[in-house]
Amino acid sequence: MLNHVWLIPLLPFVSSVLLILTAGRLPRKLVALFGAGSVGLAALLVLTIGWQFMQTQSPYSVHLWTWMNIGDFSPGFSFYVDQLTLVMLSIITGVGFLIHLYSTEFMEHDSDYSRYFAYMNMFVAAMLILVLADNLLLLYLGWEGVGVCSYLLVGFWYKDPANGAASRKAFVVTRVGDTAMALGLFLLFTELRTLEIQPMLEAADNTWAIGDAIPAIAALLLLGGAVGKSAQLPLHTWLPDAMAGPTPVSALIHAATMVTAGVYLIARTHGLFLLAPDVLMLVAVVGLATLLLAAFAALNQTDIKRILAYSTISQIGYMFLALGVGAWSAGIFHLMTHAFFKALLFLAAGAVIHCLHHEHNIFKMGGLRSKLPIVFWSFLVGSAALAALPFTSGFFSKDQILLSAFELHGTSTLLGAQIGPWLWAGGLLGALLTAIYSFRLVFIVFFGKAHTEPDKQPGWRMAGPLALLCVLSVIGGWFALPLASVFPTSSEHHVSHLIEGISIATPLIGVFIAWLIYYNKSRLFSGITDSSSGQALSRFWKSGWAIDTLYNSLIVSPYVAVANALRGEWLDKIYHGVVNVSVALHQLLSNSQTGKMRWYLTSMVFGLIVLVSIFGWVR
């Protein structure tokens, strides 16, 4: 069974190809069966393989075929399975299956039902290849595959030009990171002559010392790829716009799986990052900056999906923080719990949108607590886990990250050794903000006066996944992940009870503040929020710290201006000349096509005369 690991990505791939080839001619029931069933089967397969793997616990790789063979460069199409892979596989297929099941109802009345599942299955296959790959080139194949599927799914409703623009933005911005990553792969190959991850990490460890320049550059380039894919500063601007796609897509791609690929990449190549402590510190700083920035932005959004998008950016910031402080398994742990509760939140938000005539503005919702009870409870559980209230899954993972950050003994030369408590304090502020914005959402959408009446209730295919994800969001943090053998061991946490107490209390304070502002409407805060400077700050944060405007005026506008200036360039004139000449010739010749037979005959006769006289004269 262990050697049949290749079946896992093959199942959704085959289903996708089938759906593409039939081009929407299959009946909807069959499409749903293939689309959701293939991922469900893959999940079962992961379960059996995981069970068998746990008996031996020894990592292994499966070589399928040699992909290409050029000189001493021969990357194989081969899969590597260890505990980290298994965790990712379970998340992708498990959460993926629930989201596919949910989609069968959510997309039921869409005319492109089959195309939707074709893309989704292709995405799952690419994502599985990404995490199964045993060399960086195959990983890159999956990496680009998920990028393409993300592009296709963000622009799924392509008839609205805004959606097309959003998908192009997502593609182009992540491409910036991907280019950096490709350069990183080139550098690693020229230096180490291999791209197979495990031998490469060993070779890196033997070749370089800690603090050398080349591993730092390579790690920096890989970080560039991770930052682009995982929507971290400064390449995070695509994710809020990517919410243009269908909501289950946001749940699967832009919350649970694809955006965490960057975290996976860094965790997978952690040996390289350990050789570059400065870059590792940069990972932590990027994570911290992103999580704070995105949390402030999330606090001021009015679109339910954009709140969740910024919240996703913020939570991935936590994962980067965890990786940066060397708490590898805490980062992956948070990746998993985040996949559960953020998928839950997105699916619940999708249910709200679905039942409320596609309403996205939270201020037009309200009072849904009694009208959509299932959705309300799902949202409450999801928000509790997101805010890291005690005994939910998010609490355990975030707590681990914050404690690891507090205990960090800085090894970087750039920042002092005492950076740990500062990172902890920043993370704590982020946790406070997380609690405020997530319960702001709950109070505004589900309490207070109703503005829009729901016209339907979610059916079992939507309610079932919500219920299951609720359970996972709560108990997902109660068990430790078996990652000890993959990552360097981190010591037990020895922090005072005061620090732990603060970590537990912070989210509760945040919930209380949200209750004061958005439920009780206390004057204490409305005085601040209604003042003109408060309004201006709110607008500034709502626009995501005006970073989009900054990029537009700094990069996009000059680029467009230069492109327009180069439009009349001389090289183009050659090509335009070719076009003009052929158009003129065409018009000249089309004049001779009169449809008058006598004219044809006359021209034939004259042609004949000319030809005969030429040949006669030549001889």
Binding site: N591, Q593, T594, G595, K596, M597, R598, L601, T602, V605
Partner: protein, 104 residues
């Protein structure tokens, strides 16, 4: 046969003149019936050339080919007259310049 010795060149000149007459008829006439008739003239000019050449070299081939041309002409006329009928019925005219549907 001796007394009737018309030089081959003369016959060929007549045949060429006939051919040009037919060709000019097709080029300048607009009525489809006249065009068909001019085609006949051209076919016959070719036939005349074959017969004259067959006589000049004392070969039967020229006359055989003339029989073939006669057959072709008969077939052509039967098809052509059918077309003429159809054209008259569709376009209500026999003018070749007006019987066109090509947009120019």
């Amino acid at each position: 046969m001796e007394g009737l010795a018309i030089p081959l060149n003369h016959v060929l000149i007549v045949a060429t003149l006939l051919f040009i007459t037919g060709l000019a008829g097709i080029m300048f006439r607009r009525n489809i019936i006249f065009i068909l008739m001019s085609l006949e003239v051209m076919l016959n000019s070719a036939g005349l050339a074959f017969v004259a050449a067959g006589t000049a070299w004392q070969q039967a081939d020229g006359q055989v080919i003339f029989m073939l041309i006669l057959t072709v002409a008969a077939a052509e006329v039967s098809v052509g007259l059918g077309l003429v009928l159809q054209i008259q019925r569709r376009f209500r005219t026999l003018d070749m310049d007006q019987a066109t549907r090509l947009n120019s």
